[in-house]
Amino acid sequence: MKNQNFYMRVLCLVVIIGAVLFYNSRTQEKEYQTQNEELTKRVDALEKQQQEILTALQENFDVQEKAKAESEKQKTETTKSEENADSTENTDSAENADSAENADSTENADSTENADNTETATSTDTADPVYKDGTYTGDGQGFGGNIQVQITIADDTLTDIQVVSAEKEDSAYLSQGKAVIDPVSWKPRAQM
């Protein structure tokens, strides 16, 4: 057969590429599986937490309601004893109580929210800025020569890293290095 070596080599190349693609799909599947497991775990944990919070709120609410009802009873009893109260008045007071309760509960919710807000606000306010805002440049020794890097700091956090000059570096290697300073990859780590 003419060019049989060529066809054999094409076959080999296709097999190699196929093997890499097969490997990729397998590892990706595994990665998805582990991600899935992690996510389901997290969702379960969150659901548990939510359930706990809900039950706690419910209990709190029940306790409050009981207390209110008791105080209402006492009030109505006192009003009954002092005046001949009408049934309409009773319902009125009950309505009033309801609205008051409602107001209370909303207020409660508000106050907790407020507390949260103030907490976070104070935490950012009270922490002294460690880093001064501005842009800074620094030099380092690379494989081929000098590399100049510029960083930007705003609101006490690193917001940008730029390689200003790396004339003697090989572009393929340099872009591998640049991938490390990609904000997407370093921001989460910096926050931890």
């Binding site: 060019n3 049989q4 070596n5 080599r9 080999c12 990706q28 494989f143 572009s171």
Partner: protein
């Protein structure tokens, strides 16, 4: 005929010098791409396209379509070998008054051409098992690119320096010593399917009997015959084309 040989040699030397100055790290970058595939296997992560594989991809594609012209004309390490070999040959003939340029016998060349596959397999195995990182300082290519960048390799590069010196001595004794015997990237290129039309062929019917000038001139001792089991060894230096007394060697399907 001498003029023609001289002309092709000068053109090639010029292109080699240009690539040596402008893009001296292509060979190691391309091989870093091959290694990166096996590195991801060692980490159990999917193989992702990266900037090394850009270079590998371009060179592999160019090789498949046009033959190993990268090896013959653009590779800085191959050019280093050519420079050393030509310098030493000049010294060998003019100063030591030998008749022929230094070269290994055919059988030895055929045998040693297989060593590069072992080296390729060993390096890729080291990558896939994650032991490659421990071999830091043993690569003669690292030492070469350091020297080229004007840096002296540190004490941790002892093995690499020793290997580079040995390779450079070997480069003097045989044309394209490293490329055909040890180069792992050359091994990759040698097993690639090269489009038959891009391979050098000769019109055997027109050949004078017992000529064989092309095979004698060929640094890889190839039978110039288009698609053969060893045609991957051709680094497209076109020396056979220049030396053929009947201009019998051409590319294409003619």
């Amino acid at each position: 005929m001498k003029k023609r040989i001289r002309k092709t040699r000068l053109i090639r030397a010029g292109i080699q010098l240009l690539f040596f100055i402008l893009a001296p790290s292509l060979f190691s970058t391309a091989f870093a791409g091959v290694r990166s595939i096996f590195d991801s296997i060692s980490q159990g992560t999917p193989v992702e396209w990266n900037s090394f594989l850009d270079i590998t991809g371009i060179l592999v594609l160019a090789t498949i379509l046009f033959g190993r012209h990268f090896c013959g004309y653009a590779c800085a390490f191959g050019s280093l070998g050519d420079a050393l070999y030509e310098t030493f040959s000049w010294f060998w003939i003019k100063v030591l008054h030998r008749k022929k340029k230094p070269a290994y016998p055919e059988k030895a060349v055929y045998f040693m051409q297989k060593i590069k596959y072992v080296i390729l397999a060993a390096i890729l195995l080291a990558c896939a098992t994650g032991t490659y990182g421990k071999l830091q300082g043993t690569s003669p290519w690292d030492v070469f690119s350091m020297l080229r960048a004007g840096r002296l390799p540190g004490a941790s590069y002892k093995v690499g320096v020793l290997l580079l010196v040995l390779i450079m001595i070997g480069m003097c004794t045989q044309e394209r010593f490293f490329c055909q015997f040890f180069c792992p990237m050359g091994a990759v290129f040698a097993i690639l399917p090269i489009v038959p039309g891009a391979l050098l062929k000769r019109d055997r019917a027109n050949c004078p009997q017992k000529c064989g000038a092309c095979k004698k001139r060929c640094p890889a001792h190839l039978d110039i015959d288009g698609d053969t089991s060893r045609s991957g060894e051709c680094i497209c230096c076109h020396a056979c084309q220049a030396i053929c007394p009947k201009q019998n060697i051409h590319t294409g399907d003619a």
